[in-house]
C-alpha cells in the first residue's frame, strides 16, 4: 500500500474526531451563546422628544385634531350612530407633482404595475381584496373620495335612507354591462351584497350581525330596496371601506368561502376586463370598451373613471430590491404600495421616479391572548407597555420613519375622534422606567404562579412580522421572561391563533385558553400574543378588526370560545367596554361623543388588551412617463395615462 493511502487512513479518524468535536463545540447553531444585552431601550431618546424634534412627523400628541367635516354620505342619517368612522383628515398625501406640464390625456400603452405577491382576483375568498385588481375589474357600490372622508356612490345612480334610518333605496346607473355583455341589474346587486354578508371578512360579519335581518326587494331592473333590523346610517361608509363588488348573480350565488374559478368566473362591470391570472406571474386586464364612466370628474377611487391604458399588467415581483431596480430601469411603471421607507431617499434622488406618501396604512398591533398565563393578568400586560420604546419598536417593524408615525390615539390622531387621554403611557414623556416595569411583571408572575415560556407569534415571511416580533422577544426578555418565538409564516400564525382542537374546522370560533406546551411549535400548542396589521380602530366594533377574531376580548373566563362576526355582536362580548360603547352610541353632540371616547381610551390603556404600536402610511413610487395623481381614496389606474 502506498504511503499516501496510509496517510489517508490516519487522517480519517482524525477528520471524524475533529468534525464531531467541532459540531459539539459550537453547540446548537440555533442558540449562539453570546451574552445578551439586557436593556434594549435605554440608549434611545424618548419617543415623545423624538416626535417634537422630527419635523417630518405630522402628528403631535398635544396638537388638537381638526374637526370632522360633515360627510355627505352621512347627511341623511338618523342620530343613531355617529358620522363616518374612517375619517383621516390629516396630511395623508405627501406628494409634490412635477413642474412640467403633463399634456392632454391620450389612450394607449400597457402599464406595468409591480405587486409583491399575486393580487387576489376574488374579493370574497381572500382577506385583502380591496384595491388592487378588484378596483379595476369590478364596480363597487361606494368608494372613498380623494381625502378618504366621503363615501361616493360608484355603480349607484342614487340612493336614499328612509326617515327611520332602517331602509335604503338604491338605484343602479343605467347602461352598465358586465364584461360578458349582460346588463347589470338589481338581482346582481342584491346577490353580490348577500355574498358580502357571507364572506370571510370581519367587517361584513359585524355589520350583518348588527343590522340583520336584512331583506332585499327588487323594485325594477335597476332599483331595489334593503330593509334592516335596526336603524343604521353607516352603510355607505362601510361599503366604501371594505364592501361588496358587483358580480353576475349566478357567480355571487356560489359559496362565498370557496374561491371562484379564476378562468371563467372573474366577470365584473368595471373599466377593465380581466384577461388572465398566471399565478405567481401576473394578472392581466384590458380596457373594457363598453364601460360608461360617471359624468362627474374623477375623485379618489370614484367619480368618472376613465381608462386610458390599453392594458394593465399586475406583475408579481416578490423581492423589494428587484421591484425598485425595475422601477429605476423603467421595466416597472408603478409600485402602488409597500415600498419600504428605507428606499424613499434613494428613489427621490432618481429624476425619473416620483414618490408619494399616502395614508392611512394598516396600523400594527400586538394582541394578547387573555386566556393564558401570565397575560390574563392585567399587570403583566401593563408591564409590557410600560417597558416598550415605541419608536424602536416601530423602527424594528417598519424601518426608517418615512412611512409611519408614532401615534398613541386609538382613533388615530388626525381624525375627529382623536384624544390624547392616557397616551402618556404610549409616548412616555418622562422616559422608560424599566425597573418599575420589571417589578410589575414580577408581581404578575408571582400572582399567577407562572413558570413557563411565552409564545410570541409573528409572520416571519414579512419584514413587519420578523422585525416587530423580534423586538417583542427582546422586550419580554428584558422583563425577565423566557420567550419562544416559533418560526412561522403569516398563514400559519392565522391558523395557529384560530386553532381549536375541540372544534376543529368550525369556522368562526377561536379557542384562546390552552396550556402552552413547552417548546410549542405547532398550531394547537397554545400562544400568548401575536402581531398583526389591520384596519384602524373601528367605532362599530370598538376595536381593530382582527382583534375581535382573536382572544383580545374575553368576557367569561370559563368560556374561552370567541364567537366571531355576527354571533359576537349578538353575544355582547365587548363586556366591560359595552357600557362605554353604549354611551358613545347615544351621544347627541360631538362633545358628548368625545367625552365617551376619552373614557374608552382610558379603559383601553388601563386594560392593555392589545398595544397599538403606531400609525402607518403607504409609500408609492411611479415613473415620470406616467401622468398620475396619487389619491388616498384607494389605488386605481383609471385617469392616468402615458405622456
Amino acid at each position: 500500500m502506498k504511503w499516501s493511502s496510509s496517510f489517508g487512513l490516519r487522517l480519517l479518524p482524525l477528520a471524524v474526531l475533529a468534525s464531531v468535536g467541532f459540531v459539539l463545540a459550537c453547540g446548537g447553531a440555533e442558540e449562539p451563546a453570546a451574552p445578551r444585552a439586557a436593556d434594549p431601550a435605554a440608549p434611545a431618546p424618548t419617543a415623545a422628544s423624538m416626535m417634537m424634534e422630527d419635523p417630518a412627523a405630522p402628528r403631535k400628541p398635544d396638537q388638537p385634531a381638526p374637526a370632522a367635516p360633515a360627510p355627505t354620505a352621512m347627511a341623511a342619517m338618523a342620530p343613531v350612530l355617529k358620522p363616518t368612522p374612517v375619517v383621516e383628515t390629516g396630511p395623508i398625501i405627501q406628494y409634490t407633482p412635477p413642474d412640467e406640464p403633463v399634456g392632454a390625456p391620450k389612450q394607449g400603452g400597457t402599464v406595468l404595475w409591480a405587486v409583491g405577491n399575486t393580487p387576489s382576483v376574488d374579493w370574497s375568498c381572500h382577506t385583502t381584496f380591496r384595491g388592487g385588481v378588484s378596483q379595476h375589474v369590478y364596480e363597487g357600490f361606494f368608494v372613498f373620495d380623494d381625502q378618504r372622508v366621503e363615501a361616493l356612490p360608484l355603480s349607484l345612480e342614487s340612493w336614499s335612507l328612509s326617515d327611520d334610518s332602517s331602509s335604503y333605496t338604491f338605484t343602479l346607473r343605467d347602461g352598465q354591462t358586465f364584461h360578458d355583455g349582460t346588463p347589470v341589474e338589481s338581482a346582481d346587486a342584491i346577490a353580490s351584497t348577500e355574498r358580502w354578508f357571507g364572506s370571510t371578512h370581519a367587517i361584513a360579519g359585524e355589520v350583518f350581525g348588527l343590522i340583520k335581518p336584512v331583506t332585499h326587494e327588487v323594485v325594477d331592473s335597476t332599483t331595489y330596496t334593503m330593509s334592516m333590523g335596526r336603524p343604521f346610517g353607516l352603510w355607505p361608509v362601510y361599503q366604501a371601506f371594505n364592501g361588496a363588488w358587483i358580480q353576475p348573480e349566478e357567480i355571487s350565488n356560489t359559496n362565498p368561502h370557496e374561491c371562484i374559478d379564476t378562468r371563467t368566473q372573474v366577470i365584473g362591470s368595471g373599466p377593465y376586463s380581466y384577461i388572465e391570472w398566471i399565478p405567481g406571474d401576473r394578472v392581466s386586464m384590458e380596457r373594457f370598451a363598453d364601460y360608461k364612466p360617471r359624468s362627474e370628474p374623477a375623485n379618489g377611487a370614484g367619480g368618472g373613471k376613465i381608462a386610458y391604458f390599453d392594458r394593465i399588467n399586475a406583475v408579481v415581483v416578490p423581492d423589494h430590491s428587484t421591484r425598485i431596480a425595475g422601477l429605476k430601469t423603467g421595466q416597472i411603471h408603478i409600485v402602488a404600495s409597500d415600498v419600504p421607507g428605507d428606499f424613499k431617499a434613494d428613489l427621490q434622488a432618481d429624476p425619473d421616479v416620483n414618490v408619494a406618501v399616502i395614508g392611512p396604512g394598516r396600523p400594527p398591533y400586538l394582541v394578547f391572548n387573555l386566556g393564558t398565563k401570565p397575560f390574563n393578568n392585567k399587570k403583566a400586560r401593563q408591564a409590557v407597555l410600560m417597558a416598550a420604546d415605541m419608536e424602536a419598536w416601530m423602527t424594528a417593524a417598519y424601518g426608517a420613519g418615512a412611512d409611519w408615525t408614532l401615534d398613541g390615539a386609538v382613533f388615530m390622531s388626525d381624525g375627529p375622534w382623536a384624544t390624547q387621554v392616557a397616551t402618556e403611557k404610549y409616548y412616555k414623556p418622562d422616559g422608560i422606567d424599566l425597573d418599575a416595569a420589571k417589578a410589575l411583571m414580577a408581581e404578575a408572575i408571582a400572582e399567577e404562579n407562572y413558570d413557563g415560556e411565552v409564545v410570541v407569534l409573528g409572520g416571519n415571511d414579512t419584514q413587519f412580522g420578523r422585525g416587530s416580533s423580534a423586538f417583542t422577544q427582546q422586550l419580554l426578555e428584558s422583563l425577565g421572561l423566557t420567550v419562544n418565538r416559533p418560526n412561522v409564516d403569516w398563514a400559519t400564525v392565522i391558523g395557529w391563533k384560530n386553532a381549536n382542537p375541540e372544534q376543529a374546522g368550525t369556522p368562526g370560533v377561536s379557542h384562546c385558553a390552552r396550556d402552552i406546551k413547552p417548546g410549542a411549535n405547532a398550531p394547537g400548542d397554545g400562544w400568548n400574543m401575536y402581531h398583526t396589521r389591520t384596519a384602524p380602530f373601528d367605532p362599530l366594533t370598538l376595536e381593530p378588526a382582527s382583534i375581535n377574531w382573536s382572544c383580545g376580548w374575553l368576557v367569561n373566563p370559563d368560556d374561552y370560545s370567541i364567537p366571531r362576526g355576527a354571533a359576537r355582536v349578538e353575544a355582547g362580548v365587548q363586556g366591560a367596554l359595552q357600557p362605554l360603547t353604549d354611551k358613545w352610541l347615544a351621544a347627541a353632540t360631538l362633545e358628548d361623543a368625545r367625552a365617551a371616547i376619552d373614557e374608552i381610551q382610558e379603559f383601553i390603556y388601563e386594560e392593555v388588551r392589545y398595544i397599538q404600536l403606531g400609525a402607518t402610511l403607504g409609500l408609492m413610487a411611479f415613473r415620470n412617463e406616467m401622468a398620475y395623481t396619487p389619491t388616498a381614496g384607494g389605488f386605481v389606474l383609471t385617469g392616468a395615462w402615458f405622456k
Binding site: 374559478d261 391570472w277 398566471i278 416578490p318 425595475g326 421595466q331 416597472i332 415571511d461
Partner: protein, 313 residues
C-alpha cells in the same frame, strides 16, 4: 445501434418509476389527511370530498398510486387548490422562460468550459492554466445569487446594459428576449461551467499524453487540428457526461435565479408552490423536471455513439 438505444431507453423506465413513487409519496409522508393537504389551507369540505373521490383516497395505497400515475401519464397532474388552475396548464405557461435561460446558460457554459479546459491543458502549468483553474474553483465556490445581485448592481442599475428583472417571450422580439435572459444565463452559465472546465482540462491532459496525439504531432499536423480533431473529440465522452451531471446544479441555479430576476419560470413556480404548500404543483413540477433530467442524460448517452464509435453493447 438500435439495440443500444433500446437498451438505454428500457433502463430508464425503472428510474422513472422510482421517481414517480417518490413524488407520489410526498403528500403521504406529511402527517395529516392527503385530501386536506391537497385541498390547501382554504379548502372547503366539498373540495376535500371532491379530491378524495377523484383520487380514490379511500382505496388501498397501490390503487391510489395507479390512479395517480395513469392520470399523470395522461397529462393530468391535479389542480392547484389556490388558483384552481390545472397544474399542467401552469407548467406549460412557465416552460418558455426556464427553457430559454437554461438552453442559453448551457450554451454559454459549454462555450466557457470547453475552450478554457482545452487551453488550460494545452498551456499546462503556465499562468493561463492557473488562471483558468482559479476561475473554475471560484465559479464553483460562489453562491449564484451573490454573483447575480452584484451583476444586477453593476450591469443593470449602474451601466443600464441589461434589464434588472423580468422576461419577454421570444414572440415579442428576439432582441428583447435576449436582453432579458442574458444576465441570468451568464450567471448560471458561469456556475455550471466550473466542473466541466476542470474535467475538460484533466481529460485533455491525459489524452495529450497518448501515443496517437504524439503521432499526429509528429506527422506535422497544425496544433489546432491536433487539439480539436484528435484530442478534443476523444475527450468528449467524459466532458459530455460532466455536462449531464452539472445539469442538476444548473437546475438548482435556475430556481434561485428566477427568484432573483423575477422571471416567471418553473423555478419560481416551484418556490411559490413550496411557500403556499401547493402539493399538487410541487408534485407536478418535480415529476416533470426529473423526467426531463433523465431524458436529457439519456440523449447525452446516445451522443457517445458519435464521439466514441467503440461503444457497442
Amino acid at each position: 445501434m438500435k439495440e443500444y438505444v433500446a437498451q438505454r431507453v428500457l433502463a430508464m423506465l425503472p428510474v422513472l418509476l422510482i421517481v414517480a413513487v417518490f413524488t407520489f409519496s410526498l403528500v403521504h409522508i406529511v402527517p395529516g389527511d392527503p385530501a386536506i393537504i391537497l385541498a390547501g389551507d382554504s379548502g372547503t369540505p366539498e373540495a376535500v370530498a371532491n379530491i378524495r373521490e377523484r383520487m380514490g383516497l379511500d382505496k388501498p395505497i397501490y390503487q391510489q398510486f395507479y390512479v395517480w400515475l395513469t392520470n399523470a401519464l395522461q397529462g393530468d397532474l391535479g389542480i392547484s387548490p389556490a388558483s384552481r388552475v390545472p397544474v399542467a396548464d401552469q407548467i406549460m405557461r412557465r416552460l418558455e422562460p426556464t427553457l430559454s435561460i437554461g438552453v442559453f446558460a448551457l450554451l454559454l457554459s459549454i462555450l466557457m468550459a470547453v475552450p478554457l479546459g482545452v487551453l488550460a491543458a494545452w498551456k499546462q502549468n503556465t499562468w493561463v492554466d492557473r488562471l483558468s483553474m482559479v476561475f473554475a474553483v471560484l465559479a464553483f465556490s460562489i453562491p449564484v445569487f451573490w454573483l447575480e445581485y452584484n451583476m444586477i448592481y453593476l450591469f443593470a442599475v449602474n451601466l443600464e446594459w441589461f434589464p434588472a428583472l423580468g422576461y419577454k417571450p421570444i414572440s415579442e422580439g428576439i432582441g428583447q428576449w435576449l436582453r432579458h435572459i442574458t444576465l441570468p444565463a451568464i450567471a448560471v452559465g458561469i456556475i455550471s461551467a466550473a466542473l466541466p472546465a476542470r474535467v475538460t482540462r484533466s481529460t485533455m491532459l491525459e489524452i495529450l499524453k497518448e501515443d496517437y496525439v504524439r503521432t499526429a504531432r509528429a506527422k506535422g499536423l497544425i496544433e489546432r487540428a491536433v487539439l480539436l480533431r484528435h484530442a478534443l473529440k476523444n475527450a468528449m465522452v467524459p466532458i459530455l457526461t460532466m455536462f449531464g451531471l452539472s445539469l442538476a446544479a444548473m437546475i438548482g441555479g435556475l430556481v434561485i435565479s428566477e427568484q432573483v430576476f423575477a422571471i416567471p419560470g418553473m423555478g419560481r413556480l416551484i418556490v411559490d408552490a413550496v411557500a403556499t404548500r401547493d402539493y399538487p404543483l410541487i408534485q407536478g413540477t418535480l415529476l416533470l423536471i426529473a423526467v426531463s433530467y433523465v431524458v436529457i442524460n439519456l440523449l447525452i448517452d446516445l451522443t457517445y455513439l458519435y464521439f466514441d464509435p467503440r461503444i457497442r453493447y
